[in-house]
């Protein structure tokens, strides 16, 4: 056994031994992934897991390094990139990933990706045309 494996075993027994807790937080993450289009919030997620929202917030951050809201935002932006690349319109994409207004979607997208959804989509279309030509 390598020294790395020994360290991992120690780490697991110290920090990742509560399997029930870990399984519960993984279920929360999967629920977020599968319901990006819905109006997700901490109240809803915590009710589903029969726990307090403060506890859920703390556990999610502990095991994923992000708060549920940060994770949800990252997933929505990632999914919106997939939709835009596949040709979905900016407006459809906005609502398909759970944003309630085009303005807030476009602003957040630009903050995270560095360009607006429409510019991102045009660039992807140009890339795909270049790839087809070459």
């Amino acid at each position: 056994m390598t020294s790395y494996e020994e360290k991992l075993i120690r780490l697991k027994s110290k920090w990742f031994s509560n399997e029930h807790q870990i399984a519960s937080i993984i279920k929360t993450r999967l629920y977020i992934d599968n319901n990006l289009h819905k109006n997700l919030n901490l109240d809803l997620l915590s009710e589903m897991r029969f726990t307090s929202k403060f506890h859920l917030h703390r556990l999610f951050k502990r095991y994923y390094g992000l708060t549920p809201k940060q994770y949800l935002t990252d997933r929505r932006i990632k999914k919106s990139k997939e939709y835009l690349i596949n040709g979905m319109s900016v407006t459809e994409t906005c609502y398909a990933v759970g944003f309630e207004s085009l303005g807030s979607f476009s602003k957040l997208f630009k903050d995270k990706i560095g360009k607006s959804p429409s510019v991102f989509q045009k660039e992807q279309e140009s890339r795909s045309l270049i790839a087809t030509d070459s």
């Binding site: 390598t2 020294s3 790395y4 494996e5 991992l8 780490l11 697991k12 920090w15 990742f16 870990i22 937080i25 993984i26 993450r29 095991y63 994923y64 890339r127």
Partner: protein, 131 residues
């Protein structure tokens, strides 16, 4: 500032390019001569070709402390870096069928599953799936 490139030390750039493209599936993005047989050789993920580039850097051949550090990590089994995969189990089976050697089989810890393999160029590499 933007993170656009990470580097990994390799003992032989040509051998590394073959391993990282033929076995791991990366694509060569840039390949320019730098003199003395060295190259500026970068790779990208096929599904994220405008994402960060991975530089295959021949540092261990030109700067001894780099080789010492790399050897120490290898001996301890510590990965030099890690790559995300969708499914560790299937990637483990795929790479095993290509004769890639693993020091850590697929293992769950907390909210991740991971495995560690030898890149044949001086490094342990970890693949990780988020659970």
């Amino acid at each position: 500032m933007k993170v656009s490139l990470i580097s990994i030390p390799v003992r032989d750039q040509e051998k590394a390019a073959k391993f990282y493209t033929e076995k791991l599936g990366f694509l060569i993005k840039k390949d320019a001569p730098l003199g003395g047989g060295n190259r500026w050789l970068t790779l990208v993920s096929p599904e994220w070709q405008d994402g960060p580039e991975l530089l295959l850097e021949p540092a261990p051949m030109h700067f001894e402390p780099s080789m010492v550090f790399q050897d120490a990590l290898m001996e301890a089994g510590i990965p030099y870096t890690q790559f995300d995969v969708d499914n560790v189990d299937s990637e483990y089976e795929r790479l095993k069928s290509l004769n890639v050697e693993f020091s850590v089989k697929p293992t769950e810890m907390g909210t991740v599953k991971f495995a560690v393999f030898n890149d044949t160029c001086g490094n342990n590499i970890q693949i990780v799936e988020q659970l």
